[in-house]
């Protein structure tokens, strides 16, 4: 353990650029808090939810799915071979949730009332479940991270308390995201007759939680590869390959349930009527579900880093594409009007994701998150290339 090492954060030109984005976003956010949503966003009565909810919240939470799927595999099923990626998955997930909470705070009009839902038991609202679960789960993740934090920062009593709490925290840390990942889908059950039937379904909570789960391993693969490139380490290819089995089978089930559900509701023909929605739907299913299934299924693709990485990128982009279809494509016809995010909405979004990268770099450089190099399995055939400076 390098407890003796001091805090460090190397500044590169790339990081300086990210810091600039963050500062720009902070300024835009302050302006938004003072002058209101109309002053910075292109939101309207027809499009009450835009980039921040559609991308930062819905996609951010989905992309953080790596946290709970890895926790389930490593800490509940005790598949120890995945331990090397466990902490990195937790870290990314935690930052993802913090960003989602910030974007939610930015998006609510009467932000000084943000704490009200804790005390007004609107349990008949899906949003109530989402809000509680996300808030509590973020706390749980911070506590889980506390266990790592106190490996560096010495404080034995706190470390002991957290250690004793770890089992309930880990279980909560899977149950809560399972509930709210599905609830984020249930949010749109209310939009019956508004959301296009290709996406509206009573099963939408299942589709959301299922896709957030199978996205986890793909996200871990991408993060792991990026971190390996950035820090000139070897990618954990055997772990990634082995994880593809999880994603592969879950995606096959996802696809089957999707087809059965469309047939059961008698809306299958909508997928082939040539409309904008039908094309977007077919694109989503063929490119982002079927294609990765085949790539994961074929060993000669799966066993190469480029293969597993490409398939994983397709899975991740596919889940984002699916959420965008629910929030925008599927709603467009019934609400009418146009929405395209303003410059300021983009700036704040870019600033938040820049913060994610900076925070990730800071934490892995100062805390024991990534596996020690000698734990990395060799012989993966991937030369550690001179990476992009992170």
């Amino acid at each position: 353990m390098s407890k003796a090492r001091n805090w460090s954060f190397r500044i590169t030109w790339f990081r300086l650029l990210l810091i600039l984005f963050v500062l720009g976003a902070v300024a835009a956010a302050l302006y938004r808090f003072y002058y209101g949503l109309g002053a910075v966003t292109n939101l309207s009565d027809r499009w009450p939810w835009g980039l921040w909810i559609g991308f930062d919240l819905l996609c951010g939470i989905a992309l953080a799915g790596g946290g709970f799927s890895t926790a389930l595999i490593v800490h509940v099923l005790h598949k120890d071979k995945y331990l090397p990626i466990a902490r990195a998955a937790l870290l990314t997930s935690m930052i993802g949730y913090i960003i989602s909470l910030i974007s939610l705070f930015l998006d609510i009009g009467r932000w000084y009332n943000f704490w009200r839902p804790f005390f007004y038991w609107g349990f008949h609202s899906v949003l109530f479940e989402v809000f509680w679960c996300i808030a509590v789960y973020t706390t749980v993740q911070i506590l889980e991270f506390g266990d790592i934090f106190f490996e560096k920062v010495n404080c034995p009593p706190l470390k002991k308390v957290l250690g004793a709490l770890m089992t309930p925290l880990l279980i909560l840390g899977i149950v809560l995201p399972s509930l709210h990942q599905s609830s984020l889908g249930s949010l749109y059950i209310v939009a019956v007759d508004k959301l296009n039937p290709l996406w509206w379904s009573m099963l939408i909570p299942f589709f959301f939680v299922w896709s957030a789960f199978f996205l986890g391993p793909a996200m871990v693969t991408i993060e792991g590869t990026l971190a390996a490139r950035a820090y000139r380490r070897e990618a954990e290819l055997p772990v990634f390959q082995s994880l593809t089995k999880v994603t592969l089978w879950m995606m096959i089930i996802y696809f089957i349930v999707k087809i059965v559900d469309l047939n059961y509701r008698g809306v299958m023909s909508l997928a082939f009527n040539g409309s904008y929605e039908s094309n977007m739907f077919l694109f989503e299913i063929i490119v982002f579900v079927l294609l990765p299934i085949f790539m994961y299924a074929i060993p000669s693709i799966r066993n190469k880093l480029w293969g597993v990485l490409t398939a994983s990128i397709l899975v991740v982009v596919g889940v984002v594409f699916n959420r965008m279809n629910v929030v925008f494509t599927g709603m467009a016809k019934s609400v009418g009007g146009q929405y395209f995010p303003s410059f300021w909405e983009f700036l704040i979004t870019i600033g938040m994701w820049s913060f994610l990268i900076l925070f990730y770099c800071f934490v892995v450089e100062n805390f024991p998150i990534l596996a020690k190099e000698e734990h990395v399995s060799h012989g993966s055939g991937i030369p550690s290339k001179p990476g992009v400076p992170a």
């Binding site: 009565d45 331990l83 007759d193």
Partner: protein
């Protein structure tokens, strides 16, 4: 006693007295009219415009005619907005109005998340985007007049042709069917009797509703019942899934080798 309004589209002359009365009673600022291809007046509802009149040119050839439809909050019997709100900021009162508590009852719990706007099947709630701390705004069924000796809403009192009739909902529904059965020109449907579980505002028409821009063939179930069908499982999933996970964790623990996790990871050295 739950109140409603029966709107007879065949009696409306499109004078917009109701719109003016609404603006005037609720002290809402006016917006400059725009000349467009769209005849609806005002052009659209917004946070300062809680009702509008849609102008529809229907029929063919010599049968061509104008039909005018007043639009506003339908005041659903089981409102989607009320069920969607996680701070109880909407309320269906026993008098039949769906009100927004922050402005109506001075109970400022609304966080401004706008989920009510996603939830409403009629796209009624509007948001004060231009304000720093915006409220959600919509027709309040003149709740102040309703609770003050059961006075008619401002719009109904202003209607010169009797196209709008205020009263007890069940009685209005009976009257609606009586008018339909007594006159062959009416479409045999009271819009709002069953749509989304029933609404307090109901429409009669002599022109098919779909030609007037109404959403037809919609569900007759209330929207809250859909949500509840899923949400009611939450506690069971919480306990059941939690128990299953705990059991699995304990069961597989023995198979796992002891790891010194503190020796497994290390901070990255940014070379």
């Amino acid at each position: 006693m739950s109140n409603g309004v029966l709107v007879d589209v065949s009696k409306c002359i499109g004078c917009r007295s109701c719109v003016t009365a609404c603006k005037s009673w609720n002290d809402l600022p006016d917006r400059t009219a725009q000349n467009t291809e769209n005849w609806d007046a005002p052009l659209q509802m917004d946070s300062d415009t809680w009702t509008q009149v849609n102008y529809n040119l229907v029929g063919q050839g010599t049968q061509r005619k104008w039909r005018f439809v007043k639009r506003q909050c339908m005041h659903c019997d089981e409102p989607a907005c009320e069920s969607a709100c996680f701070t109880h900021s909407f309320l269906k009162t026993k008098e039949g109005a769906v009100i927004y508590k922050p402005t109506e009852l001075n109970e400022d719990y609304c966080v401004g998340c706008r989920y009510c706007m996603i939830a409403c099947p009629f796209d009624i709630p509007k948001f004060q985007y231009e304000k720093t701390f915006p409220y959600v705004q919509k027709c309040r069924f003149c709740y102040d007049r309703m609770t003050d000796g059961n006075k008619r809403p401002a719009c109904v009192s202003a209607c010169p042709t009797g196209a709008l009739k205020y009263g007890e909902k069940e009685a209005l529904l009976a009257e609606g069917w009586k008018r339909i059965n007594g006159n062959a020109q009416y479409v045999k449907h009271v819009y709002g009797e069953k749509e989304y579980g029933g609404t307090a505002w109901m429409y009669l028409s002599d022109v098919p509703f779909e030609q007037l821009g109404f959403k037809v063939n919609v569900t007759e179930r209330s929207i809250p019942s859909y949500t509840w069908q899923v949400l009611k499982w939450t506690p069971y999933i919480f306990v059941g899934w939690g128990a299953l996970l705990t059991a699995m964790r304990l069961y597989t623990k023995g198979q796992s080798q002891a790891h010194d996790v503190e020796e497994m990871y290390e901070p990255v050295d940014p070379k």
